[in-house]
């Protein structure tokens, strides 16, 4: 008897309790807690292997000194993120100023020719980048970076599945249902009612916004 864990919300599927083997579940079976597809479940190994390379810890260097070249869209999103930072400190006027800048740089940004399959490919590549970044963040014990990387890995995984479904089923996939995005972590949910709390970042669902 095996156990499987939902990599999104942590729900555990225990074959012993369910009396049905995980592999015998239909392909369209979804996580009863968060709606994640079957493919996002992982087998729980008997023994958890402990992380070994924690010893080669290095001294955390000083903050970034030289400014990197940033694209217009990057500037736009840095500014909208800083607007969020102001909002949390209840600095309403500063928030509006950062939002103005964000819109300005977004308008200056140019589109790139491409197709959905390009986007899909890049999304899959992101999972490698995320994994690589996670190793670096673990090495330097950067909790904040580890947090966003965990969330972004989950949300990018969900995006991959949604792109797959859209490719297979076309607009029929979304024609008679609603679609939502968590405004905190980017989790995408297809369905009429979003989960009570976001399965990725655990925010209550008033932060999960319907896209119209």
């Amino acid at each position: 008897m095996k156990k499987y864990r939902c990599t999104l919300c942590g729900y555990i599927y225990d074959e012993e309790i369910e009396k049905v083997k995980f592999e015998d579940l239909p392909e369209d079976w979804i996580c009863p807690l968060c709606g994640a597809p079957k493919a996002l479940f992982e087998l729980i190994e008997e023994k958890d292997v402990s992380i070994s390379n924690i010893d080669d810890r290095e001294v955390v260097s000083e903050s970034v000194d030289e400014l990197r070249t940033l694209t217009n869209l990057e500037l736009s999103l840095i500014c909208s993120n800083l607007a969020r930072g102001c909002e949390k400190q209840y600095l309403e006027e500063e928030k509006q100023l950062f939002l103005e800048l964000s819109q300005y740089y977004e308008k200056r940004s140019q589109n790139l020719e491409g197709t959905l399959s390009d986007v899909k490919e890049m999304n899959i590549k992101d999972l490698d980048y995320l994994n690589q970044a996670m190793n670096i963040a673990s090495k330097f014990q950067d909790r904040g970076a580890k947090r966003i990387l965990t969330w972004a890995t989950k949300s990018s995984n969900i995006m991959k599945i949604i792109l797959d479904n859209y490719e297979k089923k076309g607009i029929e996939y979304l024609k008679h249902t609603k679609i939502w995005v968590c405004d905190i972590c980017g989790f995408v949910f297809v369905g009429d009612v979003p989960p009570e709390v976001c399965p990725v970042c655990k925010v209550p669902n008033f932060k999960i916004l319907e896209v119209k």
Partner: protein, 164 residues
Amino acid sequence: MNKEHAYRNLKLCTKDCLCLFVCPVGATDTENGQIDFEKCIGCGACARACPSHAITMIPNEMPPQQKKNNQVVNSLFLIVDSKIKQIQKLNYILEQADGEVEKKFLKTLIHSNKVMIEDLVREAGYMLPQSKNTYKLLKMLLNDVDEAHRKTIEKLLEKIKVND
């Protein structure tokens, strides 16, 4: 000088008015529903008395943000750059799209990527508006900006006090 001041979350305030009873300087009773920050002495009595937990004490000055390792920052920006390009492509596809469902789908992907990028850049050194990183960025932006937005940047530089 007080270290913090009270702030009322209007979404939570159910007008229990305990704050009015306990405030020693009458800062909590205003026409616009918000606390009078000029009057507030930061004693915290209102926040402790509020039965709806609608009042929080906001520090007047934030502590400096966490220092970031360059390798971590670079690895985060690798993801940011990829997701930026995806949004640029999705915007291009969105321009050509005509079906409502397709548009909604594309907007969803764009929104999701934007949220992730915002959080990634936050952890890559742009967490606090008061940080030196933000200050340096705003200064640099002055080099290439139109007149209206130059004013926006100048206002921000004037209003935000650098804390590290």
